[in-house]
Amino acid sequence: MAAHSAGKAINTQDITDKARRDLLLLLESVRGKKNLVIERALAGTIGLFVKFSTLQEYGVDKLFFLENHNVDSSQRNIIFLVRGEKAKQVQTVAEQIRLVRSESKIDHDFAVIWVPRRTLVSNLILEEHGVLGEANITELAMQFVPLGHDLLSLELEDSFNDLTLRKDPTPIFASAKALMLLQKQYGLFPRILGKGDNARKLADLLQRMRSEEDVNASSDPNNSYLTSFGLTPSTVVENLIIIDREVDFPTILATQLTYEGLLDEVFGVANNTVEVDSSVLGGAPAPQQQQTATPTTTPTTATKRKVPLDSTDKLFPEIRDANFASIGPLLNKTARRLQSDQQNIHNLDQPLSDLKSFVQKLPSYQAEQASLKIHTSLAEEITKFTKSDTFRRTLEVEQNLLIGSEGSTTHEIVEELIARDMPLQTVLRLLCLESCLSNGIRQRELEHFKRMIVQAYGYQHLITLANLEKAGLLIPRESHRGYLNPISGSAGQTATDWNAVRNGLHLWIDEVEESEPNDIAYAFSGYAPLSVRLVQAVLQKSYLQNLVSPPRSGAPPSTLTGTGWRGFEDVLARIKGATVDVVQRGHDADVSHARSVLRGSKEGPRTSIVFFLGGVTFAEVAALRFMSGEIEKASGRKLVIATTGMVSGKRGVEGMVEKRGFGG
């Protein structure tokens, strides 16, 4: 696959190894047995690169989650592994230390490992609680974590909510830091492209950090002097494309229709694992693979089982990105192959040498069989969901909205869904989708829906609705907003002209081949996500151009060339948010020049990094992987996807929902 060689350009394995090494080193520095207290959200992330058994080898006795004050004092050494950016978590750590210290009879040794860095605020809070001197404080500079060979994630759980709802720019800063690290390793990104206001902020921050890096590098005594010579443009990376999530809400609100996407929609995928009822898996045997860092103390109820979803699985990499419609045939094919293999072994007259080679293959064969069983049961469960009446109706509304047909039935269906007490987030997703695609819902209709929602689901959702409005997901349509107003001008586009963009970037494909995809739109069975189209506007210019305005018969297909956003400036101007296009040059023009001479004209930097600020969905990843395969075939370029975290409409909307009800 294309992505495999992309992995070579940006070596994701290195990142995993380094994170593991760093963590184990920190654990080792505390002598003897220790209890590890870990932030729940971080546990899964850590589990991506360290097994629990490894932690035990490094002296970890018990694992606790940082909550409910459940830390016990069975070991003298207590290590906290917590994200230091959130004041609330820091506070909890401080309280825990105080609690253990006051309740336990032994003199404990505390160590705190802040991820990814020690913050001033954490110092302040620990000091206020009088425990700053108590704990040995270190930091684990864990930034990007690879979720796949071509997918890097910061695994910031709240990044979507932070950016959209709370307007807290912490994820932007974290992203900038992580991208700086990549730049230090691979050289300056020669060009930074992006769309969206936050993308602009990130690009600005990257440039600021670059100029500050000079000073930082030289004033850090531990730094070897070579790194202080300023960054020179990368020879590996061609450009960085930043997609601000706020530019493209509809894509996350639409239901993902790839296999992994639907797994996410139905069960929720976190840190490359999905947790399902064991009844779903039926008799499928537990894979004897890694036991991830599951705390022993938390009662993971016997009925839940974790299924790892990564490239170690035999089958999953092949089917993860396929449209769900084609999963049946795919699984079928594998089953047949396995069956014919099985028949081979029953053939008793085999020569001994054949038998030997077969026996050697046996373990992988068994693994494959186990994996097949698991995925068949998962697919079955998903089918139950996709066959349901609600799913059909939701999808109908969704697709109507995405096509842009102003169906009058849309509202009726939504009303019916509310009346039938369907899950709140399903309803909200549809309303948000409509709001996003038409720049708000008419005031009167919106009020009507709001009223229905609070009556059906409870008055606490006044807050949910306020949250959605604040995040810009569900807003009243205002006549003076955005493109309708000629005075607001093009500089600060605050709303997207979806009709123009739909045509300009060809966001809907009528005839989509789900089993033999020919366009990224297969991931949503017709809808081509705007985010991915934007990437195509940079990397697959002529393809997109021909799609938008098909050449008349006889005329040669358009071969649009150029770099950056060229050729699509008009469409971009109709999308809300700033457009970013920055060229980064090295300090030393001679060095860059010399390099380009040495390199010759043929072999340029060939990897593009696509960064999703605010999260990316599995379906988009699938679409990008499909696209990556195409461009690799055509021009040998590669694509690496990076993000602040995985997101889906479900998680995005759920984060805004008020969970409490009246009466305690």
Binding site: E28, E85, L120, K201, S211, E212, G230, V454, Y457, L462
Partner: protein, 823 residues
């Protein structure tokens, strides 16, 4: 020129040499025997202070004030630190030339960079109570022995955290030493204690008796690489054992009655014993040599040798390095030696030069390498030159030779010779230079205010020079008292255009000097916004600090400034400050949601953000466990919005919420069931479920629930309840706001086909085909047939016939024929 062998001495089968580094080091009046002398690693500075335990002659007033004097190895006074506090128990150095002074009550002062300013820290309460007895230092930390034999270790100085090690047995500690963490298998510091006849090893978690029986040991010395331990027994013997106590390597009998004053390692293969003026050098296998000094001497051990310091001389005692031995050993026939000889002939224009070369032709490259390396080990510039010339000569004969090492060595030697000059006084050996790294050597020069030399060295070695400028500027700020603008101008002029200059540090120096305005002025030039923040906070320019923090994009910094700001200024000013800065407001809001709702309320009030304020009250209502306060909060939330028109619907909703709670309360009382916490629809559903239709209807009218919603709710509730009678009743109603299809679907879903079928005829909006399917689902083929008959659809009837059986088939047949007849 003296022979390089002149100061060699053979000990066993090895050679050791004593290089005289500097003469007339100290003032002859300085009574070294009454002073404690410690030297920083890598030939660093030397700290001298008076040993309080010794008697000394009174010499007038000036000596009554104790001081710690820091000298260079050449005896140049670098700094004098007046001591005003407590009894000094130990003075030591870290590898970055940080001076540490420990007093008997466990207070430590850490003087970085040879400056007079210090940062204090304490060894904890235990040390205060029991008193510090002695300390042992290693490159990055130290261990302190307390009065009751407990040991406290500090492993880093940037953030010292005294750690109590496992407790040691009681008894007099005759001698002790530390094994630095980098050499132990546990990666934690280990302390060796000689108590009674044995040695205990103490680390963070346990104390282990090594079971030796030949004690008491007067001295314990650990080799620089941590592999060997030298022990001095009571019967005047020196034992060398491996540091894991497994192997005994050599033994030496000094035959001296009094135990030596000091025992130190000289590199990793010799041990030095020192009495007042007598020195024994013990090589491997117990071979030894003795030497005598004119006056009292001190030993300053280093990684590759030992410096011997007396009043008038500073010497470096080391094993003759291998390349040097190879070149210079008497009668050596090694290629390198022959090459050096060839150079001699060449200089005398003797043809034998070529003979020599031919002789070693096959190993010439090796000879060149050795000469280059030997040059590095020479202190005499003459011999350095000779060796390099020899190497160069040999190189010229070779066709192919990589000259990188040669070039590097010439560069290194230039630097070494420059810093060894007596006025600089850093007699660093080549080995030490490599270990120290050029960067840190430059730092040491800067610490000694040798800015010009530091600059020249940095430029020569292509090192960054910004640190030097910054340090210079800091010093300038401290030492110049002319007007502020002048200094600032001068500094900026000099530092401008240099890459990577941190003005923040210079500004901090100015601030520490109490020159606030200068600090602010200098800070303006700092390129990193984030770095300006802490100092701006300390000079009291909070709002500028806030702006800079926002500029840096680092939310942690912004939050930090905000927290500081909040404590410092009145709340109203605080709000006004953040009001105009959206990022700041966002951060305050997002943190306050979890922590400080009152603050948030004030903020919303101040900014007149009623919607948010009201929502906040709603969240409070949600967290209230009792109905009373919850209703009150809702009331307040509604009141907040009542005045403004745009929130009219919100107000209605809030009032409804209160009303619902009232209703539910009443229901709970009347019906003795849980209602609170349910939504309007759920309440209706539950009421229907329990058969309270009237009440449900009342809720509908009271809350103006949409008819459709009400019907759906009712339908679902009845189906769930399996209330077939009521459903049948409903089928008699003429019109349904949601149509009849849902009835059919829901009831069918519940498996009641008979009842479901009742609704099919009512679904008049559907097509015939759909209705046929509905009938079929209920198993009523005949009815389906009638449907087709009505529509006169023969095709449909024939399809049905295929699916039908028994009576139904007959019926269908009948219909088909009827249809044919009718035609």
């Amino acid at each position: 020129m003296s022979k390089p062998r002149a100061d060699w001495e053979q000990v066993g089968d090895r050679f050791y040499r004593k290089t005289q580094l500097y003469t007339s080091v100290f003032d002859p009046d300085l009574e070294l025997e009454n002073h404690v002398v410690t030297g920083a690693p890598y030939s660093g500075a030397v700290a001298v202070y008076r040993d309080e335990s010794k008697i000394f002659s009174h010499r007038g007033a000036q000596t009554t004030k104790p001081t710690i004097d820091i000298y260079s190895c050449a005896g140049k006074l670098i700094r004098q630190i007046a001591w005003d506090r407590g009894t000094i128990k130990a003075v030591g150095w870290s590898e970055d030339e940080r001076l540490l002074v420990v007093t008997d009550d466990g207070n430590v002062r850490s003087y970085a960079d040879l400056q007079g300013e210090f940062t204090p820290f304490s060894l904890g309460q235990g040390a205060e109570e029991r008193g510090v007895q002695a300390c042992k230092f290693w490159s990055t930390g130290f261990a302190a022995l307390l009065g009751d034999n407990s040991i406290v270790a500090v492993t880093r100085y940037d953030e010292p955290r005294p750690q109590l090690l496992a407790s040691a047995p009681h008894g007099e500690i005759v001698a002790w030493s530390v094994l630095p963490p980098e050499y132990t298998s546990s990666r934690s510091v280990e302390v060796l204690l000689a108590i009674d006849k044995t040695v205990y090893v103490v680390d963070a978690s346990e104390c282990e008796d090594r079971g030796l029986e030949a004690g008491p040991f007067r001295h314990i010395g650990i080799s620089p690489n941590g592999k060997f331990i030298a022990l001095y027994t009571d019967d005047s013997k020196v034992w060398v054992i491996s540091s894991d106590f497994q192997a005994r390597l050599s033994e030496y009998d000094s035959k001296v009655k009094t135990p030596p004053k000091d025992l130190q390692w000289c590199g990793n293969n010799a041990v030095v014993l020192a009495w007042e003026d007598e020195l024994h050098l013990i090589g491997p296998n117990g071979a030894a040599s003795k030497s005598y000094y004119d006056s009292f001497m001190h030993l300053l051990p280093d990684i590759d040798g030992i410096r011997v310091l007396t009043n008038d001389v500073c010497e470096f005692l080391q094993k003759v390095p291998d390349p040097t031995e190879e070149v210079f050993r008497l009668g050596s026939t090694s290629p390198s030696s022959v090459l050096l000889d060839a150079l001699d002939h060449l200089e005398r224009k003797s043809p034998k030069a070529d003979d020599n070369i031919q002789l070693i032709r096959t190993s010439l490259d090796e000879a060149v390498d050795t000469c280059v390396r030997a040059a590095g080990q020479e202190y005499s510039i003459h011999w350095q030159k000779q060796l390099l010339k020899a190497a160069s000569f040999g190189k010229s004969v070779l066709d192919l030779y990589n000259s990188d090492d040669f070039v590097d060595m010439t560069e290194a030697l230039r630097v070494l010779n420059a810093v060894r000059f007596y006025e600089v006084g850093i007699p660093v050996s080549y080995e030490q230079y490599i270990r120290l790294t050029p960067e840190r050597l430059v730092q040491r020069l800067v610490n000694r205010h040798e800015y010009l030399l530091a600059l020249k060295v940095s430029e020569y070695l292509n090192l960054p020079v910004d640190r030097i400028y910054v340090h210079w500027a800091g010093q300038k700020v401290r030492s110049t008292s002319t007007n502020e603008d002048g200094i600032c101008d001068e500094i900026v002029r000099k530092l401008n255009g240099k890459r990577g200059i941190s003005f923040e540090e210079v500004a901090r120096a100015a601030y520490d000097e109490g020159r606030r305005d200068l600090a602010i002025e200098l800070l303006e030039h700092e390129p990193r916004a984030g770095k300006q923040v802490p100092l701006l906070l300390s000079v009291g320019e909070e709002t500028i600090a806030l702006d800079k923090a926002i500029e840096s994009g680092d939310t942690d910094l912004v939050f930090y400034v905000l927290l500081t700001l909040k404590k410092k200024i009145p709340l109203s000013n605080f709000f006004r400050t953040i009001n105009s800065r959206s990022v700041a407001t966002a951060i305050v809001e997002s943190s306050a949601i979890d922590q400080d709702q009152e603050l948030l309320k004030d903020l919303y009030y101040q900014d007149d953000r009623r919607g948010d304020g009201s929502n906040l009250l709603v969240t409070e209502a949600l967290s209230a466990s009792d109905l009373g306060p919850a209703t009150d909060k809702l009331k307040m939330a509604a009141k907040l919005l009542r005045d403004s028109k745009e929130y009219a619907t919100q107000v209605t909703a809030l009032e409804e919420a209160q009303k619902l709670l009232r209703f539910q309360e009443a229901f709970e009382k009347d019906l003795n069931d849980r209602f609170i916490g349910l939504s309007v629809n759920q309440t209706m559903s539950k009421l229907i479920d329990k058969g309270h239709m009237k009440r449900a209807a009342k809720v509908q009218t009271e809350f103006k629930v949409n008819d459709k919603v009400y019907w759906w709710t009712k339908l679902r509730a009845l189906v769930r309840k399996r209330d077939l009678r009521e459903l049948e009743e409903m089928s008699k109603i003429r019109k349904s706001p949601i149509g009849w299809e849902p009835f059919y679907n829901e009831i069918l879903g519940a498996g009641k086909t008979e009842l479901a079928a009742l609704f099919i005829p009512k679904c008049t909006t559907l097509t015939m085909a759909e209705r046929i399917e509905m009938w079929m689902k209920c198993g009523k083929v005949a009815k389906a047939g009638e449907e087709a008959l009505k529509a006169k659809d023969r095709g449909a009837l024939e399809d049905l016939r295929k699916q039908a059986s028994g009576n139904a088939m007959l019926d269908i047949d009948r219909m088909i024929s009827q249809l044919q007849k009718g035609r």
